[in-house]
Symmetry: C2
Subunit: 488 residues, 2 copies
């Protein structure tokens, strides 16, 4: 039974970081906005993602904090709850913004029905609807594993005692961050991953560095592995690794970090005519516009990278598009960096290896690699694992992609986001002065290496450039479709 | 008595970071080089500066290292000695490079006399002579203070027990870094400084932040203060602070960090006709050339900033000039960043406040300030002190100067060195995506603030720009001469 109908300029579905960016941004500009949320203000980031995980990572790393593991976990919850409360109050008191608790589904392209917590229905309509419902952890059945021993990122930060032995299934961002954090908290940690390496989204050199670091911390990694069953009596997880059965003893908690499922199944997208598919989610243009005029999508429901900063950046572009529709659509889609707060950190920006292979003949691309251990800062800080890897166009020194593995990689990365976006070549980067002794001083060594490999062979480099400049790259096997590549 | 005469393409006086950069660079390019050193390979940086201090700072910060304070100090020495030995072997085995131990003085513009350790004399001549003799700590007499209780950066890393109470005289880079490091090592620390603030070379906001941080760590700071006398029987240092006598009890060590003296007094520069003065040292152009053709100077003996990376950068430019004299002299002098590894770190790049005041009418400049505590990373990491301050030209968004105070400031800074050098405005910086949650994410908030303060007042901003663009800034009282300002 429909109790009420309300009309807005914009309705945002989902109060995560992306949705909040749009709702607060448009309300601040005087637009009448509704934001619909089924669970928590702040979404995954505030509640079960970045904020609790980075608080935990900080607490286990900072020498100024010396807390027993239980207090650390309580402190993580306290800080998380404080931020959630603050954000909730902010949203509730924001002018022009109605916060509506409930679950939304499309009735028509510009009309939604919301099922409220008390079961009553609400009908809303708007000129613009922004889908920002995010994603949830993918589940997996493990025979014999009781629910209370199984964790995902949604329940991980509710536990109040560090596991004695935490088994992590998966090897992506969440898996890597939590493996190091819980190890430092005192838990024994084992990682089991389906593939032959960790972090399949990063270059293989990053996976090798992480493998080294995991091993150095006595974190067991099982490759080509999957869980089979769990024996509650003995806390034993039975797995297959490389086709061979193995057992992980004393495993009192199992964290599933095996990917994400987009929250689009209950939205009734078909009713609105919004195009999506199982692989990429909701299809959008560079301004977050779906195929249906006035319907936008941002964050995890789209094919763009699944990071808070990506959702925010998309949200900012949607605000621009809705608030200033006649602004020139000149600005191309930005480069979305990625950062994993493992130890060492892994940070990346630019084209993927597949994108480079699609666009450039291999003879056009040079890989430059500087080890952090070769830097004086690496020496003083005892850093043995880590590097800066830059893929650049030969001769021109144009940067295509960067991966940094090491301490503060996430903070150093934006230098390269700026260089790639503004097309600043390694010749110009060579001329800068970097503070000593820093890890970012390695940027200079990357530019030095480029100069050293280019200048003495200038004639050959020019001939190579002329020869391969317009030669199509050889077709890759298993090449991805590349429908929404960022611009080079 | 002269035993031998040798001729080189280039002679480098001093084997510190600057001198090594030139000697190894030119020898690597096949030039015949001599490097003269009176003490240690690696200079201050390796032996009594960056390397031992950053090793110490790392050891007292990293939670993975849990050593008693004595072991920390021994480890600092061990790592320092290993690096010194490695660098010495490298230099000794370098082709085309003669390492000559001794003290050099000019006999003529292209001729040097070296007094060797055994007292014998050596005469050397070369087409190019590079003065890279660095600096030494300024001394100060404190009545009653025995030599063994007085430290400078040259003796600090020889001690094997943490002082019970370390008094630091001075409040520059060395003073601030060591205050936090020894406090964390367990010493009581007191700082006494001549002026009304710490770190006179930084903007006052940085001094305020450091004051807060020092106080939070129970480091006493005495302003407008100077040491008067020391009473050995009671380990009491008597000082005057704001004209009032005070005592610092139990002060078993006093570290003098009251500035540097250039090592140019025994070089016999007058004989070579090299121009210098007491205030700025040896006068050079942007390629390190002195007034005498073929004589260069780099590093601490010049007026350029006294950092290892500055000496290195100058050294690289001297190598270019000597090895490729016909290269166009197009490249302007780079911006020299500075970094202090206190806790919080302080990092700066761009024009000084005096330079901005000389070149821009106050109405043309906007100051943007973002608190790190307002960032989500600041929240998760419990950061209460720290900021990014950007001085930019109004309307155009061109960046003039940046100071960052906070964790990893030294690593974030190079983003701005690139932006300032390549004249990338805040409008372009606004469009980038920054990894979340990071401190460098604060860069986005700086750009947001600029947009928020500029776009809604565009008409007024344009009028202001037109009005003040060519208005000379009012004359500052106590303005510096500005003979060697970096380009804006």
């Amino acid at each position: 039974m429909i109790s009420e109908t309300k009309t807005y300029q914009t309705i945002v579905i989902g109060a995560g970081s992306g949705g909040m960016t749009v709702a607060i941004g448009l309300a601040g500009l005087g637009r009448r906005v509704a934001m619909i949320e089924g669970k928590f203000i702040g979404g995954d980031c505030t509640n079960v993602g970045c904020v609790p995980s980075k608080t935990l990572i900080h607490l286990v790393n900072d020498r100024d904090v010396e807390l027993p593991s239980q207090s650390v976990l309580v402190e993580v919850q306290t800080k998380r709850n404080q931020l959630r409360d603050r954000e909730t109050v902010e949203v509730e008191h924001m002018e022009n913004l109605d916060l509506i608790w409930g679950k939304a589904r499309f009735l028509a392209p510009k009309r939604l029905e919301v099922t409220q917590p008390d079961g009553s229905l609400l009908e809303l309509s708007a000129d613009n609807i922004v889908i920002a419902t995010g994603s949830r952890p993918r589940h997996m059945d493990i025979a014999g594993l009781p629910t209370e021993r199984m964790l995902t990122n949604e329940s991980l930060f509710e536990i109040e005692d560090a596991p004695r032995h935490l088994v992590i299934v998966g090897s992506g961002v969440i898996a890597m961050e939590m493996a190091f954090a819980f190890r430092k908290l005192g838990s024994q940690v084992s990682v089991i991953t389906r593939g032959g390496r960790v972090m399949s989204s990063a270059i293989s050199e990053a996976a090798e560095a992480l493998h080294t670091a995991l091993t150095e911390r006595d974190i067991a990694v099982y490759y080509n592995a999957k869980p089979q069953s769990y024996d509650e009596a003995t806390n034993t997880l039975h797995i297959l690794t490389n086709g061979v059965p193995a057992t992980i003893e004393g495993a009192d908690r199992v964290l599933l970090a095996v990917g994400r499922v987009r929250n689009i199944d209950t939205l009734n997208l078909e009713q609105a005519g919004v195009a999506f598919d199982d692989k990429d989610g909701i299809k959008i243009d560079s301004y977050g516009q779906t195929n249906v005029p006035g319907i936008y999508a941002i964050g995890d429901v789209t094919p763009t990278s699944h990071f808070t900063h990506s959702a925010n950046a998309q949200g900012r572009r949607v605000v621009q598009k809705i608030a200033f529709p006649f602004l020139p659509a000149s600005s191309p889609e930005p480069f979305y960096p990625s950062a994993t707060f493992s130890d060492p950190e892994v940070a990346r920006v630019g084209l993927t290896p597949e994108q480079i292979a699609e666009r450039y003949h291999p003879k056009m691309v040079k890989r430059l690699r500087v080890e952090l251990s070769a830097l004086d800062r690496g020496y003083t800080d005892g850093v043995t694992t880590g590097f800066i890897i830059v893929d650049a166009v030969r001769l021109t020194g144009r940067i295509l992609a960067v991966t940094i593995v090491g301490p503060r990689a996430s903070e150093i990365l934006s230098f390269f986001t700026l260089a790639i976006t503004e097309k600043i070549s390694l010749y110009k980067i060579y001329r800068l002065v970097y503070p000593y002794p820093t890890f970012s001083g390695g940027i200079q060594k990357v530019a030095d290496a480029f100069m050293r490999e280019t200048l003495p062979n200038l004639k050959a480099e020019i001939l190579n450039y002329i020869r391969y400049r317009f030669v199509a790259p050889p077709r890759q096997s298993g090449q991805k479709a590349g429908a929404r590549l960022p611009q080079a």
